[in-house]
């Protein structure tokens, strides 16, 4: 739950990240990535610091942040489960795997489990089509999944 609650942002550390990148050309994406690594998502308070530090309008920073699927402007669960449902995974049985995940977590795509542990997301392609169907939990990728094995994977994070 901790991540979901609105907590004070370490503004100084955000400023430091911004300062470190400010002179780089095209600094915004690397900054957003680091700020998200720090905070867990991209809250308004943090993006205001980013906007001020990089001399950009907040609406632009927000526009960029919401464009990319790896950035979040709202709090996410402790673990983000990214499920690929592109054609190669689909052909290799992703629909059954997805159904199993939805059953296991009890939430539809785009939502977070009530305990704040998992956020379930559908993504376009993880680039591990050789071991389709695949899911990614946080930074780890799991391949060749079946409805049974994927449950086991999720259990690791319970």
């Amino acid at each position: 739950m901790a991540k979901q609650e609105k907590q004070a942002i370490d503004v100084d550390r955000v400023d430091k990240i911004v300062a470190r990148h400010a002179s780089r050309e095209g600094a915004l994406l690397p900054v957003l990535k680091e700020v998200q690594d720090l905070v867990g998502y991209l809250p308004e308070e943090a993006l205001k610091r980013v906007a001020l530090g990089l001399g950009l309008s907040l609406s632009r920073v927000y526009g960029v942040a919401t464009f990319y699927s790896l950035f979040y402007t709202t709090p996410k669960g402790k673990y983000v489960v990214r499920v690929c449902e592109s054609a190669p995974c689909h052909v290799q049985g992703a629909p059954e795997v997805i159904a199993a995940i939805e059953r296991e977590l009890g939430v539809p795509f785009g939502e977070t489990t009530p305990d704040g542990r998992f956020t379930l997301e559908m993504v376009s392609c993880l680039g591990v089509c050789g071991v389709a169907p695949a899911v990614m939990v946080e930074d780890r990728v799991y391949g060749n999944l079946t409805p049974e094995t994927v449950i086991a994977v999720l259990q690791e994070y319970r």
Partner: protein, 571 residues
Amino acid sequence: MKLTINNLPVEVPAGTTVLAAAEKAGVRIPTLCHHPDQDVKGVCRVCVVEVEKSRTLQAACAFPVAEGMVVRTNTAAVREARRVIVELMLSRHPKDCLGCARNRRCELQALAEELGVRDVRFTHIEKKHPKDESTPSLVRDPAKCVVCRRCVYTCNEVQAVGALFPAYRGHETVVVPAYDKPLLDIACSLCGQCVHACPVGAITEHDDTDKVWAALADPKTHVVVQTAPAIRATLGEEAGLPPGTLVTGKMVAALRRLGFDRVFDTDFTADLTIMEEGSELIQRLTTGGTLPVITSCSPGWIKFIEHFYPELLPNLSTCKSPQQMFGALAKTYYAKKAGIDPASIFVVSIMPCTAKKFEAARPEMNASGYRDVDVVLTSRELGRMFRESGVDWGRLADEEFDDPLGRSTGAAAIFGATGGVMEAALRTAYELVTKKELKNLDFVAVRGMTKIKEATIDLDGTKINVAVAHGLGNAKELLERIKRGEKTYHFVEIMACPGGCIGGGGQPIKTTNAVREQRIDAIYREDKRMPLRKSHENPAITQIYAEFLGQPLGHKSHELLHTHYTAREKV
């Protein structure tokens, strides 16, 4: 470059777009995201044409001509693509034409008509997005947005405010402030330039006509109206007259027909502003006050500096805008003079401006003991009231403003155009400082659409450097110059909107730079036609100081005509 468009030969300079070349050939190509004052976007794809040897269709607004190019603008593929595109937009657009503020002034509606769309083949799925009615100035309805990004360009590139930007992606793309916050909670100047950019009804002024109709219908309320300098040069457009038509007398007559009890003029307080602001300038020049003095008439500009340059707030003149001076005087000076209980006076102002609505609602604007200005209407809203009332413009005889708050000079009239406040101030400051008569009243160096205008004025030995900026992007550029201290400025005029108030966010649609030029011409015609052209020569001004205010910057002035500013959050 020689090319053919629909087999017609045409020759244009290299770098010309196909759209411009077609225009030269007399071939019209429909557009939507294209705007004459903006950079090319090429996103709506309505202007696609066939270019021989190109695999795909090309957007005429963006595609450069080439030698020997063969362009076709009216093939079956082009027609099909354009129609499908417009149908795609219509299928996501609310079916609310008849209840829309832009009904019959809507570019999407016109486009559908132009292309002969007779059917929308896609199921109607409206975008679900709540309306933002948080500010007294603007209403944003993203459900109507066609994501053409013209407002994005205006807000970011022209006005340097950056309140709006596209967020999300794909079919969920929406133009919003960060975190989809209401406009009231963000650094928006409320200038309303986005309204001019918008081809549809996704951004409009906050309509307050109902409040005015109600006041007019209430027999116990004494309703007075003031009209800003820029209105008389634009209001005719609401009645279908060409831009740049002056309608001062007809406007006064029509306002009387609507039932206003007194028809006054903001120009009167514009003259008063010159007295106060001119005196303030002279005082700061002579007593070592903060320089440059920067004008404070434009509420969009005020909100901008409060957000983005709070450190320069001491540079602002403490003068209220003419609208607010008027409001304060209407419920004090005028009330007393006319023997009317100020509580029963209802002050309406007709402004070229959406930010004025916010200004009137600022908590400090109650110097009279009441809300100084009760309702602000834009030119568009007044046009709407006239249309509803059935006033036949063509048949109205010119009428005069009421006394005493209706007397003004040419110096006040030019407040409506960029450089006008500067010029009016110089006309007065020159004579006050030098005690000599000014021979040539026309300070042409500060006129026109040049982004930043500078001049050095010799006040009988005292040389002062002045600068004029219009549009907040230009204002930002000028402020940076000031901050860098490259040059010493003594007096700076800044207007939030390109072209000044004639280009304000409340002005008739369509307002483009070409239209602004025509309106500016009208403003200076109005100046020329006035018998008095210097504010300090206005007898009603002399009278009000004698009867009521005492002297410029005096005690009463401070109480009623001057104000203070609030630093606001930058992002």
